[in-house]
Structures are given as C-alpha cells and as structure tokens.
C-alpha cells in the first residue's frame, strides 16, 4: 500500500482486522472438525499479529529508521 | 549523610506504603464481602505497595518517576560524584560501576550467609539421627540455603562483575538503560529482607523448588517467599534486557561481533537466557500464589488441575537458569585463561558457537528433571537425547580452554588458578551429569546426594570458582588496589581442596541411596557423611581468608596500576578505578582482544584522538 496516506493505511488495516475477527468467529462457530478449527484459528491469529506488529507497531523501525 | 537519607527514605516510604497496601486490601476485601483480614492476601497487596514505595523512596521518584508526570527530574548522574566517597554505594546511582559493586558486595554477603546455613546442614548431617535442629528448622535452613545460593549464582557474576566489566570491555560509557540498571539493583534489597524474614513468618517447607501441592497447602512463609522470588525474577529480566541492548548497540566503533571478548559473549548469551526464561519461575509462583490466596485450582487434581504443570513451567525456567549460572563462569574462565596463557584464544569462533548452541538447546531439555515425576514415557527419549546434545557445545568450550592452555606460557596468578579449577571441576560435574541425563541411571539416582554432589560440582565448581577468578582478576580495576597474592593463593588451595573432598565424597552416599532434603539417613552412611561434614567445615573456613584479604586489601592494599596483567582488552586501558565516564577519549577497536604474540597484530584498542599520558596502549604482545 505505498501510495496511501498514513491515516488511510491504518484504517484499511483496521477494516481487514475487523473482517478477519468476524470471519474467525463465524468460522469457529460453524466448523465442527476440531483440527480444522484449531488450524484455522491459529493461522488467523498469526496473520492478525503480523498486521498489528507491522502496520500498527512498526516493527520494521527496529532495524530501519523511518525517514522524516 | 546522603546514604542515611536514601536508605531511611526508602525504608520510610516503603513501610508506609506497605501499611497503606494492607489497608487497601482490607477495604477491598470487605467491599466484596470477605473477611477484612487474610494474612497472605493482605500482605501480598501490602508487599506490592511497599515495593513501589521503597523504590520511589530510595531515589527513583526524583530521578525517574517525576518524568512520568511531566515534571523536571534531578540529574541521575549527580549521585556519581566522586566526593560522595563510599556513600555513592548506598544511593540510587546510575553508574554501572557503582551498581556492579553494589551487586557484588550484596551478593557476597548473601553468599556468606547462605554458606553459614550450609554449615548448619552439615552439622546436622554429621551423624545419623536428629541432633542439633528440629525438622522444621532443618527444612527452613535447607530452603534458605538453596534459594539464596541460587540467587547468588544467578546474580553475583551477571549483576556484579557483568555490570562492572561489560560496558568497559565494549568501550561504552554506561549501560543502554542506566536508570533501569539501578532499578534492577534496588529491587534486590526487599527480596533479601523478605527471604531473611521468612523463618520468622512461618519458615519454609518446600526447599527452593516450591513444588505443589505442598507449596499450596503449607502454612509457612510460602506466599512471602513467592513474592520475593517474583521480584527477583523481575530484577533478573530487566537486567538481562539491559545487557542484550547494551551489547547490541553500545559497542565502540570497530568492536565487531568477532572481536568481542569471551566474557562479553558469555554475558550476552546469559542475558538472553534471563530475558527469555525467567518468566517461567515467575509464572509458576504466580500460579502457586493464586492457588494460595485466591483459591484457584491450577494444581488441585480434584478440580482438574495438575501438579505436574508446575514442574513443567518451573523447569522451563530453572533448567536454563543453570546456564545463566554456568555460562558467565565459562566466560570468565576463557577470558582469564586467554590473558594468562599469553597466546591467542584457541578456537574463538567455536567457543562463541558453543555459547549460542547452549542458548539454542537450553529451552528443550527441561523435562530431564522430571523423569521420575510421572511424565509420559515417550518424552523420556527426546529429553534424554536433547540433554546429552548439550555436551557438544560444552565440549567446544573445553576445547577452546584446553587448546589455549596447550603450549601456552601459563602465568599462574590467583585468577588463573581459579580459572583452571573451573575447567577441572566442571569436567567432573559434567561427567556425573551424564548419569543423571540417562533415564535408567537417573531413576536410581534421582533425589539422592549424587544429584547434590553433581550440581555443586557444576555450579560451585564451575560458577563460584569463576566468580572468584573474576573477583581476583578485576579486583585491581574495581578498587584501584592490589590484593595480597599469598593470601589469595592460600584461599585458592584451601577452597579447592575443601571443595573437592566435600563433594567428591558426597557421590558415595548418593549412590547408596541417601535422600536429599531429609535431615536423617541410615547409620551405615555415617563415615562418608562425617568426612563430608568435616571437609565442608574446612571449605567454609576458607572464605574467612577471602573476606580478610578482600576487606583488608580494599582498605589498605597497595595501589594498583592501570593494567597489572598486561591484558589487551579495553577495561585495562583506562585508569584503576576508571573515571565516571570510563574513557576520557573515545576508544576505537582495530584488533582482536587475544592476539598475544601474533606478529603484526593490530592493537586491540586505540584512543581517538590519542590521549596524552594515557595508560600504556593495548599492544601488550607479551609479558
């Protein structure tokens, strides 16, 4: 998302996260197979953490200082 | 009296906050419809309040806390002023050299106290039957000896020598987070006080491991003990974090990873271990505390809890903890052997790889403490193999040490003697470890004095000998005075012989099945125990020589030169003791720290711009 302003970027990520959360919930409630459910929840959680850590917490700034 | 106002202020606000916490807890309890007073619950809340009050009172408020509210803070470096003299050591001081001395002296005192408790244990075990102390007292003394020695092993080298030497050795003027460094230290006195008070609050019954269900059910000082250890864990985590960031970011120009002295490498790996695993002990004790004061059921089998959970979480920390203890010992040993053999350290890269290998393996071996605890059989094999894999990196460290000694011009001063003893003792501790890692022999040896002998060989023989190697090695740097070499050598031989006789003989009753932690044993083992006790008293007495030498040399020893060992590393290139800012000129690193006698080797350090009248440069190609 290079062309986007910083605020907009945050909102897009937030919408993605919100959609993922709701999908996660619906997925968990409707899937009966324990293994599939567990795997799906684990993958969703890791993806959400990636989004939060990268876009919200700016983990990349640890090794690449942002240009002002 | 700056010192009196600091300590008095800390104690005052600490006690007031403690009582405030008691009151708040009572208020909350009555609001929610419980009895207003429950000793362990109210005291826990009081402890947390008191701890914060103590920290703020000793000076954190003025140099740090006010900042959180946008107020001006006092210059944190003000307490480093030279003219304060000895009182600097009793203040909230951010200078890593002062903090190092604070740690070192505090933990030497704890070491002596815990050693005295070992004397009580050996007195009781001199012959079978109950003689001197009651079972309850014996349990308390044993538990206190265990936990205090663990604390010494975890913090004396890391907090004391590490704090003092690491920033100097990498050419920094302080740690990355100086105020957090002071915080790590000032968390320690409440821990020590709470631990020392535990005999008066009901004693200890669970030893240092605090296994449930006993630790949940016991009517002893368990909750206070838990809180103290959690606090100590916090101190250890913050200290570890500080070391990691310091070594990553505070190295002088030219100090590449390949040029770090071995001691710095060992501290770096140790700091990672403290940062990653100490939470295990804290979480385990938080669970015990919740079970005790909030009626939770983590370890209550009747409610679906599982006491084994405690052992998993606890050993998840406490096995890596033994590497927190031993790696600094190895680091000091390699450092000292390197400098006192007067030749380049053999297999530097392999030794560094060994440290990193231990860091990697340490997290996957914990269940070897639980072979007899009822873990599933399919876990035995993997943990046996993982545990024995550790001997590969350990072997590389031995390879480095022995290869350095080989054909070296050994300079047998006291630090070198202690460093060589580390190698000798740990070889014995390592070999006995194999019997404990192997499931079949471990089932026989578990919970016997064989285990006690084994871990004393590794921790005392490895780390505590390393601690003394470090103390004698850096004594001239820290104090600016030279210790008495004759007394130091007397201390060494006395301690070495006392230690080896005590713990070598101790394997014997262990193989015969003598239980640890029990105040009594079959009569047939009396001979062995008498020998062990007598030599343990001898071992204990050897520290009197050390104390006399340490105190006497610090007060009136002859002044030491900047670099009495002719060593190449950075800390010896500044004055003894170093100025507050460590180096008057910024150091620049160009060569390897151990290139003794290598033709054409660049000096390890030069100063930029070259200092006029600075101590002899780092060229020292031989002595």
């Amino acid at each position: 998302m290079p062309a986007m302003g910083a605020f907009q970027k945050g909102y897009v990520v937030a919408i993605v996260l919100a959609v993922m959360t709701i999908l996660e919930y619906l997925f968990a409630v409707h899937v009966d197979d324990l293994q599939v459910r567990f795997l799906g929840l684990a993958i969703t959680a890791l993806a959400k953490v990636y989004f939060i850590a990268y876009y919200f917490m700016h983990i990349y700034r640890c090794w690449r200082e942002e240009a002002h | 009296m700056y010192a009196a106002t600091t300590i008095g202020g800390g104690l005052g606000t600490g006690l007031l906050s403690f009582y405030l916490g008691l009151g708040v807890a009572a208020l909350l309890r009555s609001l929610f419809g419980f009895d207003a007073w429950d000793r362990d619950f109210n005291a826990s809340i009081g402890y947390i309040f008191g701890l914060i009050g103590w920290l703020m009172g000793v000076g954190m408020w003025g140099t740090w806390g006010r900042e959180w509210f946008g107020a001006k803070i006092k210059d944190p470096h003000a307490n480093s002023r030279k003219e304060l003299g000895w009182q600097r050591y009793f203040m909230f001081n951010v200078d890593h050299k002062v903090i190092g001395v604070q740690y070192l002296v505090t933990f030497l005192v704890v070491f002596i106290l815990a050693g005295a408790m070992a004397m009580v244990i050996r007195l009781e075990l001199m012959d079978s039957g109950r003689d001197f102390v009651s079972n309850k007292t014996y349990n308390t003394v044993l538990g206190m000896h265990g936990i205090m020695m663990v604390a010494v092993a975890v913090a004396a080298v890391v907090g004391g020598l590490g704090n003092y030497a690491v920033p100097l050795m990498i050419g920094a003027d302080d740690m990355a987070f100086p105020r957090m460094n002071a915080l790590s230290y000032w968390l320690v006195p409440p821990v020590a006080v709470t631990l020392l008070l535990s005999p008066f609050l009901g004693g200890l019954e669970t030893g240092w491991t605090a296994y449930p269900p006993l630790s949940v059910l016991t009517q002893s000082a368990q909750t206070f003990w838990n809180l103290a250890i959690i606090t100590f864990g916090l101190s250890s985590i913050l200290g570890g974090l500080n070391f990691v960031v310091t070594v990553m970011f505070m190295r002088a120009p030219g100090m590449t990873w390949g040029r770090l002295p071995m001691f710095v490498w060992s501290m770096f790996v140790t700091a990672w271990l403290a940062l990653l695993y100490t939470q295990g002990f804290a979480v385990a004790l938080i669970m015990v505390t919740l079970d005790r004061i909030a009626g939770m059921g983590f370890f209550d089998a009747a409610r679906g809890g599982d006491p084994l959970l405690y052992q998993h979480v606890f050993w998840f920390y406490s096995h890596p903890a033994v590497y927190i203890m031993i790696l600094p010992g190895f680091g000091i040993a390699l450092e000292v052997i390197g400098h006192f053999s007067r030749k380049p350290l053999f297999a530097y890269r392999y030794a560094v790889g060994a440290f990193l290998g231990i860091l990697g393996l340490s997290g996957v071996v914990w269940a070897h403490h639980m072979f007899t605890a009822g873990i599933p059989n399919y876990l035995h094999g993997p943990f046996l193999v993982a545990t024995e894999l550790i001997s590969i990196p350990t072997g590389l460290i031995f390879l480095s040490a022995l290869g350095t000694i080989w054909m070296g011009k050994l300079w047998l001063r006291t630090p070198m003697l202690f460093a060589l003893a580390v190698i000798f003792n740990f070889a014995c501790g390592g070999v006995t470890g194999i019997f404990l890692a192997d499931v079949p022999t471990d089932i026989h040896l578990q919970d016997t004095y064989f285990v006690v002998a084994h871990f004393h060989y590794t921790i005392v023989g490895g780390e505590i000998f390393g601690l003394f190697a470090g103390i004698y090695y850096w004594f001239p740097k820290i104090t600016g005075r030279m210790y008495n070499e004759k007394l130091a050598k007397l201390h060494f031989w006395w301690m070495f012989i006392g230690f080896n006789v005590t713990f070598f003989i101790m394997h014997w009753p262990g193989i015969e099945g003598m239980n640890r932690r029990i105040a009594d044993y079959p009569q047939s083992l009396e001979t062995a125990n008498l020998i062990v006790s007598l030599s343990a008293f001898m071992l204990g007495a050897s520290f009197l020589v050390f104390i006399y030498n340490f105190v006497n040399s610090w007060v009136r020893g002859p002044a030491a030169e900047a670099n009495p060992w002719g060593a190449r590393t950075l800390e010896w290139q500044t004055s003894s003791p170093p100025p507050v800012e460590n180096f008057l000129q910024p150091p620049v690193i160009a060569g390897h720290p151990y290139d003794y006698g290598v033709p054409g080797a660049a000096p390890h350090v030069t100063f930029y711009p070259p200092a006029v009248g600075s101590p002899a440069g780092g060229g020292g190609g031989g002595q």
């Binding site: 959360t21 459910r37 | 059921g297 620049v588």
Partner: protein, 210 residues
C-alpha cells in the same frame, strides 16, 4: 586508520547518544520487553491447553465478540494518535488518545461484566458439570485477569501520556513517551488476538468439546 577516520567523530556511550540512536535503543528495548512479556502470557496460554485440552465451559459469545471489536477499535484510535503526532497534529492526537482510553475502559468494564455473569466459579462444580473441568474457572479468570491488568495499566499510562500532551510536552520530532505507550497498547491487543480464540472459540463456540 580508516576506521578511526570513519568513526572518529561518532559519539559513544549512553550519555552522549544521538537522539536517533537513543530512539532506536529504546525501541529495541521495548520490543525485547514485549518479547519477554509474551512468554508470561504464552506460558499461561500453554497451561490452558495442558490442563483442559480444547475443552471450554459456556461463555457469552456475543459479549466476547463485542469486547474484542472494542479492543480492536481502541488499537485503531491509538494508531491515529501516533500518526497524528508524527504529522504534528496535537489536537487530533489528544482526541484519539482520549478515545483510546475510553475504549480501554469499556473493554475493562466488559471483562468485569463477563466475570460477574460467568456461569462457572473457581471453587466448586456447578450443577451438571464434570468436576474435573472446574479448573476452567481458574484458567479463564487468571488469563483474562492477567490481560485485564495489562489493559488497566495501559489505560493509566495512556492517561499520563494524554496529561503530558495537554500540558505541552512532546512534539512532532520527539514523542517517544506517546509512541511507547501506544506500542504497549498494541501489544495488549496482540495478546488478546491469541487469548480470544483460546478462551472463546477453540471449542467451536459451544461447550464440552474436545
């Protein structure tokens, strides 16, 4: 001597670090702190599966989803606050911080409400419950409790940051106090990303599964 030429002018040490380096050191230190804290959370998380497998007792799914969304929303306002601060918009930063604090308080109240309506306790089995699963109460209350303690401390720190901002501290180029607090807040959100499925969803939203 090229090394000296290259580094000679460079300052060294904590006392005279450049602001950019100080910031990087602080940032890495904070990340290591998160790393270290996530092990505390991770051990409790693992204990939950060690003790109960994927079994769970009945919890209010709707309430769980709502507080999860509230916490996510608070992360968005926190992000807005930090971005506003980077662009020098103090007013937006202050309002966003305020909104974050508000949402944090709502989350904490939600957890408190959840506790008060929970159909399980920590002491004894309720009617028709397998007594071996009573430990669910212990697991649920300690995990949400530890997380809520972090939420409350985060709210307090955000409050201090807002107070300092309103008093005129912080600027476009120097606002580590706000950034670090907001990173802490995101970290609290990250923990919930794992805790929410582990406590609410892993048994398929129902009870007595696994």
């Amino acid at each position: 001597m090229a090394v000296i030429a290259a580094h000679g002018a460079q300052t060294h040490g904590a006392g005279h670090m450049s602001p950019a380096k100080r910031l990087q050191v602080n940032r890495v230190g904070l990340w290591l702190f998160f790393f270290s804290e996530s092990i505390i959370f991770g051990l409790l998380f693992t204990s939950r599966f060690f003790l109960l497998g994927t079994h769970q007792e009945h919890v209010d799914q709707f309430l769980g989803l709502v507080i999860t969304i509230v916490l996510l929303a608070s992360s968005v306002t926190a992000y807005t606050a930090e971005t506003a601060m980077e662009k020098g918009n103090r007013k937006l930063a202050a309002w966003s911080l305020f909104a974050t604090i508000l949402l944090g308080v709502v989350f904490a109240i939600g957890v408190g409400f959840e506790w008060s309506v929970a159909e399980f306790g920590i002491k004894t089995a309720v009617e028709g419950q397998d007594p071996h699963n009573v430990v669910w109460g212990t697991v649920f209350f300690s995990m949400t409790g530890l997380h809520a303690a972090h939420v409350v401390s985060g709210v307090l720190m955000l409050g201090l940051a807002l107070m300092m901002l309103l008093r005129g501290h912080f600027s476009k180029d120097s606002h580590w106090g706000i950034s670090s607090t907001i990173m802490y807040w995101h970290f609290v959100d990250v923990v919930w990303v794992f805790y929410y499925p582990a406590l609410y969803l892993v048994a398929g939203g129902g009870t007595h599964t696994g």
